[in-house]
Point group: C2
Chain length 208, copies 2
DNA sequence: ATGATTTCTGCACGATCGGTCAACATTTTT
DNA sequence: AAAAATGTTGACCGATCGTGCAGAAATCAT
C-alpha cells in the first residue's frame, strides 16, 4: 500500500532494489542528463516497471538527488586522503593517480557531477560553498604549508587543485573528443599517457 | 506561406531574426541543455512567439544544430592562430591567454560545447574525428617540431593541448564550483589568477 | 491603390512524460 | 492457514511540448 521508503527502516530487498535503481539511474542520467532521461529508461535499465520504480522512490527528482548525494562522499575521497603526513610531491602525485583512475573507472560519476555543475549545480548549491570549500581550503592550507617550507615551488594552491581537477576529469567528461582527436591507436593508452603527462607537468612545476 | 529559410537567400530581416533566435538559443541551451530547454523559452528570450520561431527555423533541433555549427569556427579560432612563425613559448602562452579570455567572455559557448561533448557529441560526431583531429594534429606537429629543435621541453603535444583545453575551459564550465570554493572575495580575480597560474605552470613545464 | 510576398498568430493535434490509484500477487508474520 | 505487510502491474490522467496549418496582418512591389 504505502510507499516503500516512507520510514527510515529498509529491508534487505528494499536496499537491493534501490541499489539497482541507483545503478540504472547512474547509467541513464550520466548519459542523457536529468531532463533528457525518462523514468521509463531508468526503470527498464533496472529491470523494473516505471510504477515499481516510483514505489521505491518518490519520483525522478528524488532518485537523482539521492544518487548525487550517495556518490558525493566517494567522489571527494581522494582529496580527503591527501594529508600532511607524507612527502609533498608524493601526496600530490598520488592524488593525480587516483583522480585519473577515477576518470577511467568511474566516468559515469564524473559526467554526472560535471553535468550538474555545468548547469549551475541547483541540487548541490548548499554543499559547494560549505563542505567542498572547507575541504579544499584545508588541503590548500596543507599545500601552502609545504610551499612555505620550501618543499614545493610557490604557487596558488587553490588553482593547483583546480588544474588537477580539470586535467584529470577532462579524460572522463570529454572522452569522445579525446578519442576522436587521438585516433583509435593512440586512444588505447590515453589514460596511462595522460597520467604520465600530468605527473610530468606537475613534477616540473612543483619542483622548488 | 512557405517557411523563411527554405531558400538559401536570406533577406536582412530574416538574418536579424535568425540572429536574435541564435542569441536567445545560446542563452537557453547553454543553461538548460537541449532537452532541458523548451522552444517557448527560446522564443520568449528572442521576443518572438513559439510559432514564429518555427517560421524561421524548421524546429528545435535545427536551431541547436545550426547554432553549434555557427559557433564552431569561432570556437577553434585561437588554436588555428597558433603558428610556427612566432616564439614557441609566446605562441603557447598567447593561446592560453585567448582561451582564458574566451572562458571569461564566452562562457555560454563553452558550456554549450561542453554539454554536447559530455553527452557523446551526437551532433558533432562527424567533425571531431576529421576536422578537429586534423587541426590538433597539425598544431601538435608544430609543437613537436619546437621540442625536437630543443626550444621546448619534450612532452606529448596532444596531451599538452588537452591540458590547456581542460584548465582554461574549467573556469567557464565549472564556474559555479570555482566561485563556491574560492569564496566571494577571491572570485573577483579568478580569471586573472587562473591565467597567471596556468602560464606559470606552462613556463615551468615547457622550459627546455 | 492593388496585388503579391513576407511575417505572424490562433487553434489544435498527437506524442510523451511524470505521476496516481486501485487491484492483484507475493512474501512475511502471527 | 489466516492475516498482514510488502511488492508489482495495468489503466489512466493532467500537463507539457513540438509541430502543423489556415488565415490574418503587415510589408513590399508595381
Amino acid at each position: 500500500m504505502a510507499r516503500a521508503g516512507t520510514t527510515a527502516r529498509k529491508t534487505r530487498n528494499q536496499m537491493e532494489k534501490r541499489q539497482a535503481i541507483f545503478e540504472a539511474a547512474l547509467d541513464v542520467f550520466s548519459e542523457k542528463g536529468l531532463r533528457g532521461a525518462t523514468l521509463e529508461q531508468v526503470a527498464k535499465a533496472a529491470g523494473l516497471s516505471k510504477q515499481n520504480v516510483v514505489y521505491y522512490f518518490a519520483g525522478k527528482d528524488e532518485i537523482y538527488a539521492e544518487l548525487l548525494e550517495s556518490l558525493l562522499e566517494k567522489w571527494v575521497q581522494p582529496l580527503h586522503d591527501l594529508t600532511a603526513d607524507g612527502d609533498p610531491l608524493d601526496e600530490i602525485l598520488t592524488y593525480v593517480s587516483r583522480k585519473v583512475q577515477m576518470s577511467r573507472n568511474m566516468p559515469r560519476e564524473s559526467r554526472l557531477f560535471a553535468t550538474e555543475i555545468l548547469h549551475g549545480a541547483p541540487r548541490l548549491g548548499e554543499v559547494l560553498p560549505t563542505d567542498l570549500k572547507a575541504l579544499v581550503d584545508e588541503k590548500a592550507a596543507i599545500i601552502q604549508g609545504w610551499m612555505d617550507a620550501g618543499k614545493l615551488a610557490p604557487l596558488d594552491p587553490h588553482h593547483l587543485i583546480f588544474s588537477i581537477w580539470a586535467m584529470t576529469q577532462h579524460y572522463a567528461d570529454f572522452d569522445v573528443q579525446v578519442r576522436s582527436v587521438l585516433g583509435p591507436e593512440r586512444s588505447a593508452s590515453r589514460f596511462e599517457d595522460a597520467e604520465a603527462f600530468i605527473k610530468d607537468m606537475l613534477i616540473r612545476t612543483l619542483r622548488p
